[in-house]
């Protein structure tokens, strides 16, 4: 099944939430882009990422913060990390990857196997950059570890 995954980092997504919060919790996407001197298509991945994680709802070009986003923004760095962990753990492709790792030997998978896994789900000619984004989301959330010396991912011990 082909899907779209937002090419945005966790930092960009939280930066977007902060900007919407400054605007009173709801803001027009085009105005938000203009505020940052960006083109609309440059902030779209961050909007999509925020929506995927349940931090905003998007209606007619307006981006509105959810209660979870307000909770995140009111929290300190450690608490933000916990909220993010729960959200990232609920993302479909990351859940699937985690399930596959649970079934793998020693809960490990090579990078090439992971790339094949992602390629089957994401329609792109640049699967490497999606690998980087998805692994960084999962690492940030404390779900996965990536060893670049051995080019393999593994489940974090307490997951």
């Amino acid at each position: 099944m082909d899907m779209v995954f937002p090419k945005a980092t966790i930092s960009e997504i939280i930066g977007l939430l902060e900007a919407v919060n400054d605007a009173g919790g709801i803001e027009d996407a085009a105005r938000l882009a203009a505020d940052f001197d960006l083109e609309l298509d440059e902030i779209l991945p961050s909007i999509d990422g925020a929506e995927l994680l349940g931090f905003v709802s998007v209606n007619n070009g307006n981006i509105e913060l959810t209660q979870d986003a307000r909770k995140l923004l009111d929290a300190g760095i450690r608490e933000r990390k916990k909220i993010m962990r729960d959200k990232v753990a609920g993302v479909h492709i990351i859940k699937e990857l985690k399930e596959k790792l649970m079934k793998s030997q020693e809960h490990r998978m090579s990078k090439s196997e992971t790339l094949r896994f992602l390629q089957k789900r994401i329609s792109t000619s640049d699967i490497e950059s999606y690998f980087r984004i998805i692994i960084n989301w999962a690492r940030h959330a404390g779900l996965l570890h990536y060893n670049s010396d051995h080019e393999e991912i593994c489940l974090m011990a307490d997951v």
Binding site: E12, I14, G15, F36, H140, H145
Partner: protein, 245 residues
């Protein structure tokens, strides 16, 4: 008084030319000051920061820390992160602790404490090449905080980042700054971005064109958390701009 910059001037000389970049800079920084130094490009603001940190010597004048010439714990955050690409996140931080702590275990514990403080846990063994710009600068913050500095100096720490990431890191910096359990006692940050200075600082020092002289030293009387959409915020931004131009 934490640090006092006394009559600092700097002139670069070669056989043919003599360029004065700083002219008689005087100011002092107290505990809890978050000072931003702003000014037109080439006004010597980064040179001033390098002199305060001790990376350059002034041509005349001196920098006094708590009444002494000796440099207490001062840490620096760089625009381009300045990480060793062949060392992991944890190793980059442990490296700066080698001269301060003999025991490897102690270095490891301190590195882990500050990796956690900036929300980088999970990336301890990552190499800089695996990290986004925002993550790299978090390593820069963790490395600077790990020496538990009295004074933290930052040279354009957000200008290499995309706009949204920079937004996020500024807020995280303020969360760290607002945490009484975190060093430092004071911050001096150089930036060319006036909005950024008004957002972060409780004091802004404005330098003139080269040779840089102090033309204003303002207390920013805006409550925190600050809102960039607030008209009062914009009045301060306008005020600082009007003094620079």
């Amino acid at each position: 008084m934490l640090v006092e910059i006394r009559n600092v001037s700097k002139t670069y000389e070669s056989e043919a030319t003599k360029i004065q970049v700083l002219d008689s800079i005087n100011f002092s920084v107290e505990d809890n000051d978050f000072v931003c130094i702003v000014g037109p490009s080439g006004c010597g603001k980064s040179t001033l920061l390098r002199i305060i940190v001790g990376l350059e010597k002034p041509t005349s004048g001196e920098v006094i820390f708590k009444g002494k010439n000796s440099n207490p714990k001062v840490a620096m955050v760089f625009q381009n992160f300045a990480l060793f690409p062949w060392l992991s996140v944890k190793e980059n931080i442990e490296l700066v602790l080698e001269s301060l702590h003999q025991q490897e275990k102690e270095r490891e514990a301190i590195a882990c404490k500050y990796i956690k403080a900036v929300g980088l846990d999970g990336f301890e063994r990552a190499y800089p090449g695996e990290l986004s710009g925002g993550m790299k600068q978090r390593v820069g913050f963790a490395r600077a905080l790990a020496v538990e500095p009295v004074l933290l100096c930052m040279d354009e720490p957000f200008s290499s980042l995309d706009a949204l990431t920079a937004q996020n890191l500024k807020d995280e910096l303020l969360l760290l700054w607002g945490d009484p359990n975190m060093p430092p006692d004071a911050v001096i940050m150089v930036t060319h971005n006036v909005e950024e200075a008004v957002y972060l600082a409780n004091r802004i020092i404005i330098l003139s064109q080269r040779p840089g002289k102090i033309i204003a030293d303002l207390r920013i009387e805006l409550e925190r958390p600050r809102n960039r959409k607030d008209p009062e915020f914009y009045r301060w931004v306008d005020k600082v701009y009007s003094l620079i131009v």
